[in-house]
């Protein structure tokens, strides 16, 4: 089968273009999709406070729901594109494994349906329902959002941990038999990956929304409603951060056990050996990590809770089965570093709150809170780079390479540039529209105050 596919394989340039197009569309969608999970929680929290008499909170919920309507729309359409692209760019994978791993998407469709339906009723029902009933109508939105995140991640987890068919027969003959779609969906990598993703969504959503208010704070917008907006979003992100660090550790240990080459790549372990140090910082150069702080036995301990344990190195597989280690390691370092920085911001906030019942006064805190939004997005992208680039050259770990799955159609590079141009415009337009929305709501405030 491999031979047949290589006979009319795509050029290396087309393969790269296909991977870049997928990375771009997924990387774009994942940011917006995070808001689909996190934003409804903020809105409902604000609305819930509003039903208890807090008028600022009630107004905040209404305004946030407008911004969310925009984000949800671009999230819905950018997600649809991915299902087109899976077939257009990776027909080899869809043809061989579509009936193994596709079920998750069918079920995700149900969850997304519920989210879209209730969002339609919620957004257009502010005047139709009494306040408490309206809150109730909104409740399914975050639940369906989290459910669809969970289910869709099962599909990615399957690519890391393919189950639900006879892998030995596939390796030998290229035929997929004994398909069990439920086993594929409930593959062992799902719980850790999906939890990691949902927490990441809460962090990205929370830190980005809080970042907007931190920016406003730095520019003197410090009304009660602004503070409330910051606090709700920041607290949710804050609560997710320590949990994320624990789950991240779980994810790394899971990779160490089930995808040792990915683990070796993200820590740049070139040679299989015992008592491997944990190297923090620095960079990879010529199969060595330079300028890193090394903690003896640290990596062995983190991976197995035994400082003398043996860690499988990249030398255990042929060179063409190793991921590009410099990229994977730096992405991993960025993700972990940002995670701890965000934790630090949260601790700062909590200390101030514990001492004075108010957010920190230091301008440096607000600068950090402002930076936290973009940083959380970078950490999210870095995390996806770790799991996706770290799996290379496989699209289905250990079984199918990306060059076996990619389309043989010509002109993929052209498509990549077209898609890039559209996403660039879309990014600018989304930012422009959201900031314009904020501006016009603020000017409505001024109008109300004057008149």
């Amino acid at each position: 089968m491999v031979g047949v596919l290589l006979a009319n394989a795509a050029s290396a340039g087309d393969l790269l273009a296909a991977r870049q197009q997928m990375a771009l569309s997924l990387g774009w969608h994942i940011v917006v999709a995070c808001f689909g999970v996190a934003f409804p929680i903020f809105i409902l929290l604000a609305e819930w406070r509003g039903t208890r008499g807090d008028r600022d909170a009630a107004e905040l919920a209404r305004r946030w729901s407008k911004a969310f309507a925009v984000l949800f729309a671009v999230g819905a359409v950018s997600g649809t594109i991915l299902s087109f692209e899976l077939g257009m760019l990776w027909p080899g994978m869809v043809a061989a494994f579509g009936d193994v791993w596709g079920l998750a998407f069918a079920i995700e469709g149900v969850a997304f349906f519920l989210e879209a339906i209730f969002l339609g009723i919620y957004l257009y029902g502010w005047d139709r329902f009494p306040p408490k009933a309206h809150l109730l109508v909104g409740l399914p939105i975050p639940i369906a959002g989290a459910a669809s995140a969970w289910i869709v991640v099962t599909a990615n987890a399957w690519m890391n941990h393919p189950t639900g068919f006879d892998a030995a027969t596939y390796s030998a003959t290229g035929r997929v038999i004994d398909v069990d779609p439920w086993a594929a969906m409930f593959n062992p990598a799902t719980p850790v990956q999906a939890t990691h993703m949902i927490l990441a969504a809460l962090m990205v959503g929370g830190f980005v929304v809080a970042s907007v208010y931190a920016w406003g704070w730095l520019r003197g917008r410090r009304a009660r409603r602004d503070r409330l907006g910051f606090t709700i979003a920041f607290l949710v992100a804050l609560a997710a951060t320590p949990a994320q660090i624990v789950v991240g550790d779980w994810a790394a240990r899971f990779a160490a056990e089930h995808q040792p080459i990915k683990f070796a790549s993200l820590e740049a372990v070139y040679r299989t050996e015992a008592h491997v140090p944990l190297r923090i910082g620095g960079w990879v150069s010529g199969e060595q990590v330079r300028w890193a702080v090394a903690i003896p036995g640290g990596l062995s301990w983190l991976a197995t809770r035994d400082a003398d344990a043996v860690i499988t190195g990249l030398d255990s597989v042929p060179a063409d089965e190793r991921p590009p280690t410099a990229i994977v390691r730096s992405a991993f370092q960025a993700m972990v570093g940002i995670g701890f920085l965000l934790l630090f911001a949260g601790v700062w906030f909590l200390l101030a709150w514990w001492r004075r019942r108010s957010p920190p006064r230091s301008t440096w805190f607000w600068r950090l809170a402002w930076a936290a939004g973009p940083l959380a997005v970078i950490a999210l992208q870095a995390g996806w780079a770790v799991t996706e680039v770290g799996r290379q050259p496989w699209i289905v770990y250990g079984l199918m390479r990306v060059d076996e799955a990619v389309t043989t159609a010509p002109g993929i590079r052209v498509g990549f540039w077209v898609v890039t141009a559209v996403y660039a415009v879309l990014t600018v337009a989304t930012v422009f529209v959201l900031s314009g929305l904020g501006r016009s709501l603020r000017s409505a405030d001024l109008g109300a105050a004057d008149g």
Partner: protein, 341 residues
């Protein structure tokens, strides 16, 4: 089993053609609504009638795609590979349509509303064209069983052009009859008349194109032609009758009935296509039995759909009922355009 899954998927195609189609058609009418001032009430009507529902209607497309690649992976792979260009175009159209629509709502100045509105409207025209062209390529047997067919000829051919044109016309017709009914319900008599007269014109045009299309299919898509004039003939006749009836009902201003008849005409033609093409998944290349996934997966899909339907059908119907009664409206209390209009 494969037939049951295919039937479920085709139900999704039907619902997307009717509801998604009407949303696309509304975008076409937005494009043709005239200058900013004169077209404002029509555009407001369009915005109100598709605003609450378009995202839910859009899910039917996702449903169809997912069912296709999970249930019939060996058909989806060559289809998506061959239709690279129109699928990319439709995908971009879907992005621009959705975001243009959502963006326009938040805009307060005329030039910006015009920019995003034009994006929304133009992509509403292009997307159904490309989707119809893809359907034409499948129905005329231009997709191979494996690999990729001709990347251009597969969708730039007589049947595809017919499919694309009919898709645009049908969407516009559905939308005009839906919007006429919505306008009449809201007491907007002038708008109802505006959509009514256009619905009648487009309806006649659609019928004319469909009839002349018979000749195209005869020479370019023989399998489909034989099916439509053979096994699927009752459905074709039903579609023609319902379409004609809807024109008459529009003429006599019985909008609700006209809308039902228009929907029936579309449903009949969608199922007529399926019946004509049966048992080919990809005409002259792949039959259902050869293209379907494993039995375990097909069973799992039906179970998931059954359970899922219990969850999503009641709220979906509720949303539709609320929208139909005109009880859903954009948030009035904190309108961003407050005061500036």
């Amino acid at each position: 089993m494969a037939e049951a899954v295919l039937g479920a998927m085709w139900l999704g195609v039907t619902l997307y053609a009717v509801f998604g189609g009407a949303d696309f058609g509304a975008g076409v009418w937005d494009l043709l609504s005239g200058r900013a001032a004169a077209g404002a009430p029509r555009r407001a009507l369009i915005e109100d009638s598709i605003g609450p529902v378009w995202e839910a209607n859009h899910v039917w497309l996702i449903f169809v795609l997912v069912f296709l690649w999970t249930g019939f992976p060996r058909a989806f792979a060559p289809l998506a590979s061959t239709m690279l260009i129109p699928l990319t175009a439709a995908a971009l159209g879907i992005i621009l349509r959705g975001s243009g629509f959502a963006f326009r709502k938040t805009m307060t100045t005329v030039p910006l509303r015009r920019l995003f509105g034009a994006t929304f409207a133009a992509s509403s025209l292009l997307t159904p064209f490309f989707l119809g062209a893809i359907a034409g390529g499948v129905a005329s047997g231009r997709i191979p069983a494996e690999g990729a067919g001709n990347l251009v000829a597969a969708w730039w051919n007589p049947t595809s052009l017919l499919g694309g044109t009919l898709a645009v016309l049908t969407c516009s017709y559905l939308a005009a009859s839906f919007l006429a009914a919505d306008a009449a319900r809201s007491g907007m008599e002038r708008e109802a008349d505006w959509f009514r007269s256009r619905a009648i014109v487009v309806g006649i045009l659609t019928g004319a194109v469909a009839i002349s299309g018979i000749a195209v299919l005869r020479s370019d898509a023989r399998v489909l032609f034989d099916g439509l004039t053979g096994r699927a003939l009752p459905l074709v006749a039903l579609s023609a009758a319902a379409g004609t009836a809807s024109l008459g009902l529009l003429w006599s201003r019985r909008y609700r009935l006209a809308r039902t008849a228009a929907v029936l005409a579309v449903v009949a033609v969608v199922w007529g296509w399926a019946a004509a093409q049966y048992p080919w998944l990809l005409v002259n290349a792949l039959e259902i039995a050869d293209g379907s996934g494993s039995a375990a997966t097909l069973r799992a899909m039906l179970i998931s759909l059954g359970v899922g339907a219990v969850l999503f059908v009641p709220p979906l119907l509720y949303l539709m009922v609320l929208a139909q009664r005109g009880e859903l409206a954009a948030d009035s209390a904190a309108k961003p355009e407050g005061g500036s209009r």
